[in-house]
């Protein structure tokens, strides 16, 4: 079975640009959550989506948005990129029995 798939694996953007990160959950998992991991820190919760609706949001500015599609895949969008947005962005798919399964993340560098 395929795990959680994230794309792209690496990305370099310029300040002020916009970026879209993608996540495909494990087949059958309806819940997806996003986390930001700044270098040297633990991951921080950004969003949780379940059945295509936002169910929770962390303490992030409105420049961060997300959506979930009918096939339960998800996109995270970040507008007006700042240097401080440079981080590893992790996606996790969740099921009641299996708990959280993480992808390998997207490394975003803002220059």
């Amino acid at each position: 079975d395929a795990g959680v798939t994230q794309s792209p694996t690496h990305l370099i953007k310029t300040r002020g640009q916009q970026v879209t990160l993608r996540c495909s959950p494990i087949s059958g998992h309806k819940s997806v959550s996003w986390y930001q991991q700044v270098l040297g820190q633990g991951p921080q919760f950004i969003f949780q989506y379940y059945e295509k609706e936002e169910r929770g949001r962390g303490n992030f500015p409105d420049r961060f948005s997300a959506r979930q599609f009918p096939n339960y895949s998800s996109e995270l969008n970040v507008n007006a990129l700042l240097l401080g947005d440079s981080a590893l962005y992790l996606c996790a798919s969740t099921s009641p029995l299996q708990g959280y399964t993480f992808g390998s993340g997207t490394r975003l560098t803002v220059v």
């Binding site: 633990g42 991951p43 919760f45 379940y50 590893l88 399964t101």
Partner: protein
């Protein structure tokens, strides 16, 4: 708000020896889950072990076990017979309720474990 504290930024252990990683947390909830995750250089978060707060028995997964002290809000991870492949960043995480039947994870800052041959 829940907080998770890992007071050991780095730890090292000799191969085949035992090491304990510390974690404390703060919560007002009575029922919750705690986790230890391993993050190797490949970046993927891998679940090592989880503990349900209402279970008094400490969780065990092969060479990995926890010492869960609910009253003290302490959740340490013991790795026995350490192997070179155990070298990684280890994160303690708390699952908190955010409404409906939805939850989020709150992570500590991590402990970098080095295993010396």
């Amino acid at each position: 708000a829940q907080t998770v504290t890992q007071s050991q930024p780095e730890m090292s252990v000799q191969e085949a020896e035992t090491v304990t990683l510390s974690c404390t947390y703060d919560t007002s909830e009575s029922d919750y889950y705690l986790f230890w995750y391993k993050q190797p250089p490949s970046r993927q978060m891998i679940l090592v072990i989880r503990q349900e707060a209402y279970k008094q028995q400490n969780a065990t997964e092969n060479r990995f076990s926890v010492n869960f002290q609910k009253a003290a809000k302490s959740f340490s991870l013991k790795i026995s017979d350490s192997q070179l492949g155990d070298a990684a960043m280890y994160f303690c995480a708390y699952r908190s309720f955010i409404g409906g039947s939805n939850y989020k994870l709150t992570f500590g800052k991590g402990t970098l474990l080095t295993v010396n041959p």
